[in-house]
């Protein structure tokens, strides 16, 4: 199943390049401080939107690379330090609490079963990843129209990962699901999330953010559930290798749980959801137009695709075609083997 991940990422890169052909033209690029500040201004709530425009307007009159960087980073820091409110704050705290509970349970289980040094290194990496997710969620929940559909999508993804195992602790750890389950979890549900998020919000940009929030919230939630299952069940049930110690068995389960739910689930869901949102915008161009209009206005504009951009478009199509063929070959191989 991990073979799907690079394919999914390639697929998304191709679709993303198809969606933004003009970005390949260096003449249309803005400098990094402007891009940073434009991104930060987009995080402000609607009632503070004017202040984002004020920062962008001021940056336009600042000369000198270092001064522009200082101004942009200062403003971006100020925007990020403003705590979210209402539904956004509730979502952020809920996901943070789930991640903290998962990390705490992981540590408790590790101490109880006496994990080795290498297992604790993996635990530290998982902790860093979880903290990174919280930071990304902290950004996503500030975007308008993302929180509710993102959490609903996350619930859908989490259910898709838990249903094939019967929602039980034992089933989640020990049961090997049927072949249809990975296809549903890795392909169908992320695609549905991306398409539904785009149609719900009426914007491809928001649809991608919804898919991202769904992926992260589901990953953190299922990681917590899986860690709880391991903490309760321990080394009971089927073992991969009968010669393993109890500690090794639990360590393997914890590692598998972290890799699957903190890395594989979020990456594949976010990537395929992103691709689905981009594809939806291709089918309904009006959604892409709505998305572009939500970006704060400032110096720099979107130019018509140049010859270089059109070459990039053909490269993207080639990349996309190769990826689809590769995915079909792997799927066929999996089916034939099954």
């Amino acid at each position: 199943m991990p073979l799907f991940t690079p394919l999914v990422c390639l697929l998304c890169m191709g679709l993303a390049a198809l969606r933004h052909p003009a970005a390949a033209d260096p003449a249309t690029r803005d400098d990094a401080p402007l891009l940073l500040l434009r991104w930060a201004a987009g995080l402000l709530p609607a009632q503070r939107e004017e202040w984002g425009q004020a920062m962008l307007g001021e940056l336009d009159h600042i000369a000198g690379r270092a001064r522009r960087w200082r101004f942009a980073t200062g403003c971006a820091g100020a925007v990020l330090l403003v705590p979210p409110r209402g539904r956004a704050a509730a979502a952020l705290w809920a996901i943070t609490a789930m991640a903290a509970a998962g990390a705490g349970l992981y540590a408790w289980t590790g101490v109880r079963y006496g994990l080795g040094t290498s297992d604790w290194v993996l635990a530290a990496i998982a902790l860093v990843v979880a903290v990174g997710y919280i930071l990304v969620v902290g950004v996503q929940v500030r975007r308008p129209g993302v929180v509710l559909p993102g959490l609903v999508g996350g619930l859908l993804v989490a259910v898709a990962w838990l249903v094939p195992n019967g929602f039980t602790f034992y089933g989640l750890i020990v049961t090997v699901p049927h072949l249809w389950a990975p296809l549903l979890q890795v392909i169908v549900v992320p695609l549905v999330t991306g398409v539904a998020g785009t149609l719900w919000s009426g914007s491809a940009v928001t649809g991608r953010r919804i898919a991202r929030l769904a992926a992260l919230s589901a990953g953190v939630g299922v990681f917590l559930y899986g860690t709880l299952a391991i903490a309760v069940i321990g080394a009971a049930g089927a073992q991969i290798d009968a010669t393993w110690t109890i500690s090794a068995n639990v360590a393997d389960r914890l590692a598998t749980n972290a890799v699957f739910y903190l890395w594989f689930l979020p990456v594949t869901t976010a990537a395929l959801g992103w691709a689905a949102a981009a594809a939806t915008a291709r089918v309904r161009p009006r959604l892409a137009t709505v998305a572009a209009s939500t970006t704060p206005s400032s110096a720099g504009s979107i130019a018509a695709p140049s010859g270089r951009a059109l070459n990039g478009r053909w490269s993207s199509r080639l990349l996309l075609a190769c990826t689809v063929v590769g995915a079909l070959v792997i799927l066929a191989g999996v089916f034939l083997k099954g």
């Binding site: 004020a54 001021e58 336009d60 403003c75 403003v82």
Partner: protein
Amino acid sequence: MQRNRPLSAQAISVLQALAADPAHWRYGYDLATEVHLKSGSLYPILIRLADRSLLETSWEPGEGSRPPRHLYRLTQAGREYVAALPAARADRTVSRPRNRLSEA
């Protein structure tokens, strides 16, 4: 319910810079340079002052494709606030501006 905490030393230094010529509209970057504040401190202060109606804002239209620029000056309430400041506090805030975002 909105809390009305006392203004910080930096916020008062911004008010005093604006009070030097109350009828004149000022740019944000010029204000930041004058009171030695970073942009990350200045904008939260400006937002807070505007929320308290001590500051009024306006837009200067951009030339050509340039974006409009935000302008600031004191309201009547802002002028009265600055006029009512104790002289000792005013001297202290001007001589030792600090750069703490949380006290905006």
